[in-house]
């Protein structure tokens, strides 16, 4: 028999069935509840925005891999995850050029320029969001009122403010919260409030997040420490001066915190790999989010916090290396 037909490779000769593209697909699957809620709340606008980000992100990824003369690996689904998360981080109905700009920054500037999949120091979708927020603040904060599917298909949407934005401007103008009944906890939980396209519904994000933990795609440490830190710190502040901030439950449910904690902060590429490191990372994200929300100029702090902690990730990985088996401290 001809011997050269035998494949010679390093052990192990068997592998776990989970591959990178399946991991990414599971993340997409976990986002489905949030996507469905945004369809329900924003109707046609949501469909259009998701379609645009997916087309732009996948297209740009393929184009730049081609330009770099690399195999076009769009099928690893990582660009798809970025596309969906970017859409969720935009207002419900952004103009097409805003989506294109965001996709370009996310895929090309913050991912491909650094070497593509696995090489980017910052979460691409968040870099895209923050870039747009700084470059086009007006377009990025033109919210439309949350409504049901039926009215969402109409084109005379009413513009409005997000709960956190409303509170922030009230505190800036008059020093304390003026409006009452804002940010009803049930509305926040279900997602029937104005805000970014996705992630408004805490319950939908939670379902997806728990699914990922159950499937062992992510560990619970980052989301838990992140949310717990925000809850405890905002709770303390709220106990001291309740007229200056929302209560801690509202803080947990409002804005992009849930989406950030379960889907953005846990991004493999940009978060630490060890449990100890992840706990520190989650705490850092929580602390920064609270500082920005309570004392900063922006109503929301999730995107900035995670990006800042992304920058610290290599340090955490380096200095929080667990002891090797039987390691003798010299």
């Amino acid at each position: 028999m001809a011997d050269n037909k035998f494949l010679v490779s390093f052990s192990p000769h068997t592998r776990d069935p989970l591959t990178t593209d399946k991991v990414m697909m599971l993340v997409v699957l976990a986002l489905v509840p949030s996507i469905l809620v945004s369809f329900y709340v924003y109707g046609f606008y949501a469909v259009k925005t998701y379609a645009l980000t997916v087309i732009f992100c996948l297209g740009l990824e393929a184009l730049f891999l081609k330009i770099r003369k690399l195999p076009v690996t769009v099928r690893d689904n990582s660009a798809l995850v970025t596309a969906i998360l970017l859409a969720m981080n935009m207002p419900p109905s952004p103009p097409w050029w805003l989506v294109l700009a965001g996709s370009f920054v996310a895929i090309v500037i913050s991912k491909q320029v650094f070497g593509g999949l696995g090489q980017n120091p910052f979460n691409p979708a968040l870099v895209g969001r923050v870039f747009l927020l700084i470059a086009w603040p007006a377009e990025m904060t033109s919210w439309i009122e949350a409504s049901t599917l039926k009215s969402g298909f109409m084109f005379d949407a009413v513009s409005t403010a997000t709960p956190l934005g409303q509170i922030k401007s009230e505190i800036i103008s008059s020093g304390h919260i003026v409006s009452t009944g804002m940010a009803d906890v049930t509305d926040l939980f279900l997602g029937t409030v104005s805000g970014c396209l996705g992630g408004d519904s805490a319950i939908a994000v939670l379902i997806g997040g728990l699914f990922l933990i159950w499937k062992r795609i992510i560990k619970w440490h980052i989301p838990f420490t992140y949310l717990a830190t925000v809850f405890v710190l905002t709770g303390l502040y709220w106990l001291i001066s309740p007229e200056k901030t929302l209560n801690p439950v509202q803080h947990l449910l409002a804005g992009g915190l849930m989406l950030g904690a379960f889907f953005m902060a846990t991004d493999y590429v940009t978060c630490p790999m060890t449990i100890k490191g992840q706990v520190l990372f989650g705490f850092g994200c929580g602390l920064l989010t609270v500082v920005i929300r309570l004392f900063g100029g922006y109503p929301e702090g999730v995107a900035f916090s995670i990006l800042i902690m992304n920058a610290v990730t290599p340090l955490i990985d380096n200095y929080m290396r667990p002891a090797s088996f039987g390691e003798v401290k010299s």
């Binding site: 592998r15 776990d16 591959t19 991991v23 493999y268 088996f325 039987g326 390691e327």
Partner: protein
């Protein structure tokens, strides 16, 4: 019975069903067949050849003398004529010096090894090495320079597909215990522990019958790879941690594979040299078997004896799927450390297309040695051996858990394995600088 467990590890599909119920079958010696016996089937210096071309040898005759402290004797596996002294194919080094013997018709008699007073000498003369796959000369391990309080028998057999130890534990239960008893008495060791994975309840029951007669502790082990790793086993059974870079001896333990124990018993009680061993032949072969095979039998003949391939073979592995070696040729001979011969067709093999590391951290979670394989992989790619040394690559036991679990299909364990030689140079240079 305490069980402490160890951190990390993976749960690959065990695939032991094809052979676990099959009693050990003796593969007969075929007259005129060629047996290629490598002179190095162990860690350490190769044995020195004692025979010349055209010389008649008897099965069990010493044909290779252990050369140095860490070396092992080699015996003729069959009676016949030495037809050549030449290089043989080897799965790891490519080729190795060996003796080729043409079997004659008469195989009824096996020449006993030279008698010995000390049991260590009996083990040395029988050419016994660790049969779990590490092939460390057993007599060296049995001459501990310091006090040992526990002898730990390794019956985990955590590698998927392999069932040779399982069958030995069922069919040679008392002999294995007697082997352990010989070691225990000779070295004055208080505790004897036998650890067997819980997925072999019949083996646990078989040993259970002897617990009171021989006074040992039987520990059912969690079913997890690499449960049979020496340091993992000690941690799991005794909750002792072997310090990095040290041997189990450091914490007062010696670990022996159950097959090795049986060989020790046979060497001491019957003066039987190690010229055959049990191997599991499974995967895409017509009749999967547990076979008692003479050392030196070419893999080709073994597969033929099992009815040949089932379908189109794509990869043939010597050893288990987690740590075994892929063969480039079926002329490789059976060696003392060969526990399995596995045949895979294309459809049995995983897709090995690599992509970039996505830093998912799964390798970190499963590493039983507490290493960070994903970061170390970057050092391997950039040939940063200093950094590899600092990140404890020498502590890697090459179990392959990291590669197994990597969704990006990166060749993590393979990279560490190949880098270790360069890292050794770094460490030696550092040592020299410290002393100079």
């Amino acid at each position: 019975m305490p069980f402490f467990g160890f951190r990390g590890g993976v749960h690959p599909d065990y695939n032991k069903g094809a052979t676990s119920g099959k009693p050990i079958e003796v593969m007969p010696v075929k007259e005129g067949a060629l047996y290629g016996v490598p002179l190095a089937q162990h860690i350490g210096a190769p044995a020195k050849a004692l025979v010349a071309k055209n010389q008649e040898v008897k099965a069990g005759e010493l044909i290779g003398q252990a050369a140095g402290f860490i070396s092992a004797n080699i015996h003729a596996p069959v009676s016949g004529k030495v037809v050549a002294l030449q290089d043989l194919p080897h799965p790891v080094t490519g080729k190795t010096a060996g003796v080729i013997i043409e079997a004659s018709g008469d195989q009824n008699e096996i020449l006993p090894a030279e008698a010995a007073e000390k049991f260590q000498d009996a083990v040395l003369r029988a050419g016994i090495v660790g049969l779990g796959g590490a092939t460390f000369p057993t007599n060296v391990k049995l001459s501990p320079p310091k006090k040992v309080d526990t002898l730990l028998l390794n019956g985990a057999e955590c590698e998927p597909y392999l069932t040779c130890d399982h069958r030995l534990m069922l069919e040679k239960t008392e002999e294995i215990i007697k082997g352990a008893d010989i070691i225990r008495k000779a070295l004055n060791i208080e505790n004897l522990i036998i650890g067997i994975e819980e997925n072999k309840p019949d083996a646990l029951a078989a040993f259970g019958k002897f617990v009171s007669a021989y006074k040992f502790e039987l520990i059912p082990l969690e079913v997890k790879y690499p449960q049979g790793g020496e340091k993992q086993l000690i941690k799991a059974c005794l909750n002792r941690t072997v310090p990095e870079g040290m041997l189990p001896l450091e914490v007062g333990v010696i670990v022996h594979n159950v097959g090795t124990c049986l060989a020790v018993f046979e060497a001491v009680a019957n003066r039987k040299p190690l010229i055959e061993r049990v191997v599991t032949v499974t995967g895409a072969v017509k009749e999967p078997k547990n076979l008692l095979v003479r050392i030196g039998t070419p893999v080709k003949d073994i597969i033929e004896y099992c009815g040949g391939f089932l379908g189109e073979p794509r990869k043939v592995v010597m050893g288990g799927p987690m740590m075994g070696f892929a063969l480039s040729t079926l002329d490789v001979p059976m060696m003392k450390g060969t526990s399995g011969i596995l045949v895979f067709r294309s459809e049995d093999l995983p897709d090995l297309r690599q992509c970039n590391c996505i830093r998912c951290g799964r390798c970190v979670d499963v590493c039983p040695m507490g290493l960070i394989p994903s970061v170390m992989d970057r050092f391997v790619i950039r040939e940063m051996y200093e950094s590899l040394a600092d990140w404890h690559v020498m502590n890697c036991i090459e179990c392959g858990c990291c590669s197994y679990d990597c969704p990006s299909r990166r060749n993590l364990a393979g990279g560490f394995k190949t880098s270790k030689r360069e890292v050794m140079k770094v460490l030696k240079a550092r040592e020299a600088q410290k002393n100079g």
